[in-house]
Amino acid sequence: MTYLAKPKFHHPGLPKNELGYTHRDYEGTISTLCAGCGHDSITAAIIQACFELAIEPHRVAKISGIGCSSKTPTYFLGNSHGFNSVHGRMPSVLTGANLANRDLIYLGVSGDGDSASIGLGQFAHCLRRGVNMTYIVENNGVYGLTKGQFSATADRGSKSKRGVINTDNSIDMVAMALQLGATFVARSFSGDKEQLVPIIKAAIAHKGAAFLDVISPCVAFNNHAGSTRSFDFVREHNEAVNRLDFISTRMPIELKQEPGTVEIVEQHDGSTVALRKLSADYEIHDRSAALGFLQHHSAKGQIVTGLLFVEKEAEDLHAHLHTVDKPLNALGTADLCPGQAALDQFNASMR
């Protein structure tokens, strides 16, 4: 059994958000992942982000593929509908769901095995289409459920638990997301909740394709000396590009990039994000600079974390398709069926 319900009991004095929900309202079942798994930290960050954003839990659709990471939607937002689909195909299921009802919040959860190998094509295409979603890859560089094989994001030269050296080049999904036209691209570390929570909040508020790669060490198979996804390695090599805060008001956002100042990022749903920039030479609206920055630090063996890119004028797939404002799944016979009169005209034109 990997389904463990949480006891209903909770402290009556739990703080509530502006909608009256407590933290418990954003939780799911008890995790059955390994104790200490980075994925559980990401789950906790998602719960906190949604609580702080005061999202109605049931207005979120959480969709995943197959693998350890894809199990995690069971562990948060228990009153949301979830869909644990097939390996690597979360993006297409999410795209279809989004087309059906543009009013929900779409949270896609995937792993590096799920998204960087079998699902690489779907990862690419849903980003280039601009599906309005938060696409989180819980990236541990290893196949956990099948016990320790390298994934496509494992760094070349890193060592598996069995002592095998990876000779394949790794796929950098953040670099790909930048090239594919994602309008919000970030990377974080599961152990850095202070950075991760605001990024998730900003990604959810972003109206467009938001991609978030979270380095998430696997305690069972990729947390040893020689791994470049272990806790110790990531902590030693993490270079944060900025420190983030999220303000859920509708204030305009300024885009100054001076070190130590707050940068304002404009969101198209009317909410605003304030970013405190720590690096003096970083510009979050410059896609090519983000790519260069990423690759520059990658070449030095460093992991860049933070919000790397946001597009000012992001549009989503519904805007591209020029669909009606009302969700397509709410349209009924009267909205959709042209009726016999139109059919009579059709018949006449086919003679």
């Binding site: 059994m1 990997t2 979830g82 087309l99 059906a100 797939l317």
Partner: protein
């Protein structure tokens, strides 16, 4: 003079145009067929084309049939041979006493022709070279010129062709006069230089009535519009692409909000078939009516997702426009060869609903009905078209819609029902029909949410690997399939004039040829009862139909008798009772083929032993 008597027939013959793909002949040839329709004479045209863009042989066949036989007949009475590459083969296919029209600019030696046909030479290239300087015009107008020749040879209504030219080039009016001129160049040449009319004639009739002339894929796409599909995700593949194209066209016409000009639909050309079915499943899970259109290779790629939709119980409509397989097979040739791959698509124990339209009218009706069925049953539904139906124009009854009809969204628990405290278990069999209730995401803040997964779960959608709940779930899925037997379209039965010991079962695009073949079989002195299947799972009447006959022929267009296997497997019928009649060369099955195959069998069965004399 030919050694065989020249064919002499009115409103009952087959004309075949042999062209080179990419030569621009398609519109001229189709205009020929439409002009005959305008004369009140039914036609059954077929486009036989290669899987390339330019250069390979293509044929367009027009069966002129006052009796309204819309299946392929076989053989050619008048060959318009415009492709030197296939010239010899084309001549060989002409019926004895038939006619050959060819480009005689450089006359062939007499040895190239047969002595039992009438040869009609027209120097088409020379005429075009004389009239036009532009090479493309020389090619395109050549097609119209031979249509002009045919108007004289067949006593065709030239005004009908002129009207069609005006309709075709409406909006590009400067093209009308040159085309009409080319038409008359051909007609005038024939009048002045050829013996006309020939033995094949057209006479105005009133046999078309209010029928319409439409392609199956366009009809199915319109059915999807009327059925309420709002999400279409597809990937190009012959012969299904024109279905998605037509859906796009019909949506632009019928589904744009008049005030905002915004679309009440979403169409995505996916990156592959896997993504297209994934989007359909995601959209349907979220409460939209969604479909994809594909062909056999696409079905192969979609298998994993189809299994998920079956097990997770998500409605999905899949239009499968079948072509000749396996593998790439013959992409532009027709077959009915995906029955088993669709009926049992994906790993594990799966069974899927299929619908079998016989023509565009049913493609429209079933195209709409598929969405009700998918929602009612919460499962994938395949609409099994094939290239013969999908990519050819067919004369068919006009489409009808009951304006009082509303969409049946099946068992969807609403906010109000959840609020009232109704017990919600996603996989509970509340009504005993195997069909559970579902909720759309976002319905209620605290009730009705569930987790959808391809892994086993209990009746309340909680993940479990226990054997008991798994078996319980799988048996409920079987009960649901039993329920489907009575709600998919039922078979249609037509009995012979006298009680018969023999029956025939068939489906889909075989129907028009079967309608005609029955008369030919009767002419050989045999009566046979027939059953046309329209849906899978099979209705209980299939068992009784087989039980009521000594032998039942099963006619289908594949090598392995897939329908027969399905009947044996699903109905528990002794295979000996089912005689396979198979046609699978990629051409549509003909009345002649069916009549001969069944007629020969019946001859043997009714043959009495000769008297032995000492």
């Amino acid at each position: 003079m030919p050694t065989a008597t020249p064919l002499s027939r009115v409103n009952d013959f087959v004309v075949r145009f042999a062209n080179v793909n990419g030569s621009g002949s398609a519109s001229a040839n189709e205009m020929f067929a439409r002009a005959i329709l305008r004369m009140g004479i039914p036609v059954a045209p077929r486009n036989i084309f290669p899987s390339n863009i330019q250069g390979l042989p293509t044929w367009y066949e027009v069966r002129v049939t006052e009796d309204g036989h819309l299946g392929a007949r076989g053989g050619t009475d008048l060959m318009v041979a415009m492709n030197p590459q296939t010239f010899d083969k084309d001549i060989a296919s002409i019926e004895p006493g038939g006619y050959l029209l060819y480009d005689s600019t450089k006359p062939y030696p007499a040895s190239k022709f047969r002595d039992d046909i009438t040869v009609i030479g027209v120097p088409l290239t020379a005429i075009c070279n004389r009239e036009y300087t532009d090479p493309r015009q020389r090619q395109l107008f050549k097609n119209i010129i031979y249509i002009g020749v045919l108007t004289a040879l067949l006593e065709m209504d030239v005004k009908a062709v002129e009207t069609l030219i005006a309709e075709q080039y409406k909006g590009k009016d400067k093209l009308i006069a040159p085309n009409v001129k080319a038409l008359h160049i051909g007609r005038d040449y024939a009048v002045l230089n050829l013996a006309h009319p020939i033995g094949l004639r057209l006479r105005k009739a009133d046999k078309v009535g209010n029928k319409i002339f439409v392609e199956g894929n366009a009809a199915a796409a319109l059915g999807a519009v009327y059925g309420g599909a709002t999400v279409c995700a597809w990937y190009p593949i012959t012969p299904s692409s024109s279905l998605a194209d037509a859906f796009t066209k019909w949506c632009a016409k019928y589904r744009v909000d008049p005030t905002t000009k915004k679309a009440k639909y979403a169409i995505v050309q996916a990156e592959d078939e896997l993504a297209s079915i994934g989007m359909v499943i995601g959209a349907a899970w979220n409460g939209a009516r969604a479909f994809t259109a594909t062909s056999g290779p696409g079905i192969s790629l979609m298998q994993e997702f189809i299994g998920l939709a079956y097990f997770a119980e998500i409605p999905a409509v899949i239009f499968n426009v079948q072509r000749a397989g396996p593998s790439t097979g013959m992409p532009t040739r027709t077959q009915q060869c995906d029955l088993i791959s669709c009926a049992y698509a994906s790993h594990g124990d799966t069974k899927h609903v299929m619908l079998f339209p016989e023509n565009p009218a049913e493609a429209f009706e079933m195209g709409a009905e598929a969405f009700d069925l998918a929602d009612r049953l919460q499962t994938p539904v395949f609409v099994m078209l094939d290239l013969e139906i999908g990519m050819n124009h067919h004369l068919t009854r006009p489409f009808q819609w009951d304006d009082n009809r509303t969409y049946d969204r099946g068992k969807v628990m609403t906010y109000e029902e959840l609020e009232a405290g109704k017990d919600f278990g996603r996989y509970l069999d509340v009504d005993g029909d195997g069909i559970p209730y579902r909720t759309y995401p976002g319905t209620h803040p605290t009730r009705g949410s569930f987790f959808t997964r391809g892994t086993s779960r209990d009746r309340y959608a909680k993940y479990t690997e226990e054997g008991g709940p798994y078996v319980d779930n799988m048996q409920r899925l079987l009960r649901k399939f039993e329920t489907a037997k009575d709600i998919v379209p039922k078979p249609l039965i037509a009995n012979a004039a006298k009680p018969s010991k023999y029956g025939v079962i068939y489906f889909g695009s075989t129907a028009p040829a079967m309608d005609e073949a029955i008369h030919m079989i009767e002419a050989r002195g045999h009566g046979i009862d027939r059953m046309r299947l329209r849906g899978f799972p099979f209705h209980s009447s299939v068992n009784s139909f087989v039980a009521d006959h000594d032998f039942v022929f099963v006619v289908e267009q594949n090598r392995d008798a897939q329908l027969r296997s399905l009947i044996v497997n699903e109905c528990g019928i002794d295979p000996v009772r089912l005689v396979p009649i198979l046609h699978f060369d990629g051409t549509p099955i003909t009345a002649r083929y069916i009549a001969k195959a069944i007629g020969d069998h019946l001859d043997q069965m009714t043959m009495k032993p000769a008297k032995v004399t000492s």
